[in-house]
Symmetry: C2
């Protein structure tokens, strides 16, 4: 993390502690087996970035309102976790955040139900925020729309597995839904509950959408560039699986065929791929797309009052595209 | 259907037509594959009983408000359908309402996502009702709590499959969650959105809970007593599978062992089982439990104004426990 990110770093740490505390309080003393399955992945850690976006957006509209929207911040983390539990079933993944996935530790039916329970709890938490009733209804509608969009994004992402000709536009549309809209909803929900006006809420939504997309693009770069010992993820897994990421798509545009790396990869193979992509300008082109999205977002946020929190929100976007794991 | 049920019959028919029209408008012109999968079971028909309960409860509080709560009525049907889609995956069922289940016609991931899309849409529809904002938030919270409870009920129901010693209390608690709470939410949501006071809403909730439980008990009786050609369902399937229904549990209390029927059943086998259960007083005892639940519910509804709609709601309870398919 950059030196000038120390404020954000401290802020994110503080949010993570608060959210962890709420999870502990609301989930981990639960009684039945289904409650334990629902709490499993939530309690396994995570950066709690979506809650941070909810709280920063609220404070950027009305200083001090972040404490009132804490339940909504939790709702966003709970929503994110429900989508992970269901995605893990669909993708057949057995590990997540260093623990067995829910359907692996329990079984597929329990995985479906654990996700469904969290889905409901998210809407309950939204309703528990301290805010006017009208904004609460708006927040519910925003979260519901985001959930429907995320499903569509996941469905598109799965359909890409059978294709090698996904276009940049298709990829961007998929990522907007799969990853962007939940950040968009996080920012807009925080702003709405804090009493933001429609122009501010639109700006926050678009900020969240752009930076959410940039977040995913950066994730694709990390998969390629960051050694496993640093990221905790399997370096080059997208290459090996021939996944249609923005790196793969821009490479194809520039005449670099990455499908030849679709096999078990040695460190030398990965190094060669990175060199080839760097030489062809693919890495720089992908980085620029992410950076441009964040720069656009920052301009949008100029409709907010010039507070410390507005700067921290902008730093979130910067963090999303500079992090290396 | 009884002769004095003709008003209710006409009312239910009219609601079903309105809900079918809303489903047609909101779902069946949908574009993508996931939209088609989400619409599939919704469009395959159904009695639309939960929407009817929403609308009757609204009209019982404030005459004419049923048209304002139509989106919430649709939300209840959409919620019910999402639970069916996910249940069918968990239970491995391949047919529902005469059509292939979603995960059979598409695949398991699409089934999970189609259910998840409907889940989101339900909350969107609730927000679209014409009502004050406070009651809308309350309606969202009611629906969310019901969804979490339904998951718990389904989880309990699945756990019963491995047991032959389920008690009456356990069964009633499971059915309350799996079937009762959604009728409870339907009645309370209709009443809340129409501006009912807390006492009225509590009465409607409890009415829905009781009659929802009675509905499920009657379903268990129908499985046993109604010939396949009349019910469209496989007569005696619960017996064959050794399912822990109230019939099975009361039979055990009365010393009748139904586990001996846990095999392929001829019409003569089913007839013998019915005779044995009738002679031991099991059928009458089960019928009485359902009838008592409905009678208790009717008393609760005395806090509502004495309108035609209140009578129709009571008729719903009566219909639930007298229908033979």
């Amino acid at each position: 993390m950059e030196a000038d990110m120390s404020d954000l770093s401290a802020y994110l740490k503080s949010v993570a502690q608060q959210i962890d505390g709420m999870i502990e309080k609301n989930f981990t003393h639960a009684g039945g087996e289904l409650d334990r399955a629902s709490a499993h992945l939530l309690s396994a850690g995570g950066k709690r970035l979506r809650p941070a976006v909810v709280m920063l957006s609220a404070d950027a509209i009305r200083h001090g309102s972040s404490k009132d929207v804490m339940p909504a911040a939790l709702a966003l983390e709970v929503t994110h976790t429900f989508t992970l539990i269901h995605d893990d079933i669909m993708d057949g993944d057995s590990l997540r955040r260093g623990v067995p996935t829910v359907h692996t530790k329990w079984d597929m039916p329990t995985g479906i139900l654990a996700g469904d329970v969290l889905y409901a709890r998210a809407f309950e938490f939204i309703c528990q925020s301290k805010a006017d009733e009208g904004p609460k209804v708006q927040a519910v509608a925003l979260l519901a729309r985001a959930c429907a969009d995320i499903c569509e994004g996941q469905h598109q992402d799965m359909s890409f597995e059978h294709r090698a000709d996904v276009t940049e536009e298709e990829y961007m549309a998929m990522v907007a839904k799969k990853t962007g809209v939940l950040y968009a909803a996080a920012a807009a929900i925080g702003g709405t509950l804090a009493g933001g006006n429609p122009e501010q809420i639109r700006a926050l939504y678009q900020f969240g959408l752009n930076t959410g997309i940039a977040f995913q693009i950066q994730d694709d770069l990390i998969d390629l560039l960051t050694p496993t010992e640093k990221s905790g993820k399997d370096q080059g897994s997208d290459l090996r699986e021939g996944k249609q990421t923005l790196v793969m798509i821009i490479a194809r545009q520039k005449g670099v065929d990455l499908l030849k790396y679709r096999h078990e990869l040695s460190p030398a193979d990965i190094k060669a791929a990175i060199q080839e992509l760097t030489d062809a300008g693919v890495i720089d082109a992908v980085k620029k797309k992410a950076a441009d999205l964040v720069a656009d977002s920052n301009r949008l946020l100029m409709v907010l009052p010039p507070t410390k929190e507005r700067q921290l929100i902008m730093d979130v976007g910067e963090f999303f595209v500079t992090r290396s794991f």
